[in-house]
């Protein structure tokens, strides 16, 4: 079962799918991305995908990412994939999708590159450090 949650930080949407993005769930992933892509395009912002909960992604899931990336670029927005698990990072490297998409070690690092307002909103939303 694949679930995708999302949060808005100024002009940046951070989406976090969890589970396996395979032949069975790729359509669900594509459908979940569609409104987020639209939202990012309307604000000329960015879509940052937090993949820390993604266990596996198949070719069909990668195709959904590529479609989203194309739509975002056409709409003047940006995309990044972050927090990859080692297996998913290897799949992106072997498929050469790491050359098509911006891959970042952290959500914050991607937002920092895309939007100062987004970064401020993201930092403000983080819990204070434990004392």
């Amino acid at each position: 079962m694949l679930e995708t949650s999302s949060r808005q930080f100024a002009d940046v949407v951070v989406a976090a799918p969890t589970g396996r993005i395979d032949h069975q769930s790729a359509a669900q992933f594509e459908a979940a991305l569609a409104p987020l892509v639209q939202g990012a395009c309307s604000g000329k912002g960015a879509l940052v995908l937090d993949f820390s909960g993604v266990e596996y992604i198949s070719s069909v899931g990668l195709r959904a990412l590529m479609i989203a990336a194309k739509q975002l670029r056409a709409g003047g927005a940006k995309i990044a994939v972050t927090n990859l698990r080692p297996v998913v990072a290897e799949i992106l490297a072997i498929s050469r999708f790491d050359r098509l998409l911006g891959v970042f070690p952290s959500v914050r690092g991607a937002i920092e590159l895309f939007s100062a307002a987004g970064l401020a909103a993201f930092d403000a939303a983080q819990p204070p450090p434990a004392r």
Partner: protein, 319 residues
């Protein structure tokens, strides 16, 4: 079916090793031998055999031509790429020109790289030989005749003195050819291409080249998984990376190593053989694709291991 032998494995265009590439192989081999002593030629041979394949060997540059040794007297081939020239010479060397031979040739499609070897296939010029050319394209015969018309080639098709018969195969319908059952499947490629499934004596081989897979079409994915089901060997067009196949090279009619692994895993295939190598790739690049593909198979494995190899001109697979 006993054995598969590859006579041509390159996609789109024949290529050859350059002098610079040969020199680099020698430099690498000598560097590895630095400080060693060799007592005999056999000792040198053992050292060479221990070198990496891109150093001591080459994937070759002939275009698609694959032989299936059935164990019977007839010869079975897939496609007439430039590799068929060497096959023809080997067949003549083995049997001589006087003993008539029968050849069954299965055509994926008639793009240039898959037919260009026929005018150089010496057995086709020898009376008494019988050649059956199978395919599902209605223009199969005209395409093969046309490539030998003036001004493209100086020797007309009519000079081929073997008995040549064209046999239309209806896609999806099993056909008996000798001891084999042969089934074709329509594939996505400009002008269409057809994949072949060969079955005999409990063994099965799938030859699927020049085939682009529509990733969003789950019904098509299922159809291919069914076509590949439990095959001993799948010879698969893995010309591009997945990223290229769905972006800058979308609709170019080829597939990737990633889709190859996924389909073979779905279908319970035992051995995936990467084929139709990108002509721009040198031996190290193809070897890199092979290493990546083996790693992908390893990290995504859910059932029995899938053996992965990359075809090279001269390679044999025992069944």
């Amino acid at each position: 079916m006993r054995r598969i032998r590859f006579w041509g494995t390159r996609g789109s265009l024949p290529v050859a090793l350059t002098a610079a590439a040969v020199r680099q192989k020698i430099v690498t081999a000598l560097r590895g031998a630095s400080g060693r002593t060799f007592a005999s030629d056999a000792d040198i041979g053992r050292y060479v055999d221990g070198l990496a394949f891109p150093v001591a060997g080459t994937y070759g540059g002939s275009t698609s031509c694959v032989e299936i040794e059935t164990g019977g007297p007839d010869h079975v081939l897939c496609d007439l790429g430039s590799g068929v020239r060497a096959f023809g010479q080997a067949a003549l060397a083995r049997h001589g020109p006087a003993l008539p031979q029968t050849y069954h040739i299965f055509m994926s499609h008639v793009h240039w790289d898959h037919i260009m070897g026929l005018p150089f296939f010496t057995p086709a010029y020898i009376p008494g030989n019988r050649i059956f050319i199978y395919g599902s394209h209605r223009w199969l015969e005209s395409a093969l005749r046309r490539q030998q018309d003036e001004p493209s080639f100086p020797v007309d098709f009519s000079y081929l003195r073997a008995s040549i018969e064209f046999v239309h195969l209806e896609p999806g319908k099993p056909h008996a050819v000798g001891d084999m059952t042969v089934t074709t499947m329509l594939q996505r490629h400009a002008g269409d291409s057809y994949g072949y499934r060969f079955e005999a004596n409990g063994r099965s081989i799938v030859y699927t080249t020049d085939s682009e897979h529509q990733l969003g079409d789950l019904a098509q994915t299922e159809s291919f998984a069914t076509f590949f089901r439990d095959a001993d060997v799948v010879i698969f067009d893995a010309m591009y990376s997945l990223a290229d196949a769905v972006s800058i090279r979308a609709d170019w009619g080829h597939s990737s190593n990633v889709v190859a692994v996924e389909l073979c895993q779905m279908a319970g295939v035992r051995h995936l053989c990467l084929f139709h190598h990108e002509p721009a790739f040198d031996d190290h690049a193809i070897d890199g694709v092979l290493a990546d593909t083996r790693r992908l198979e390893e990290i995504t494995r859910t059932g029995d291991p899938l053996r992965v190899t990359a075809a090279y001109d001269g390679m044999e697979i025992e069944l």
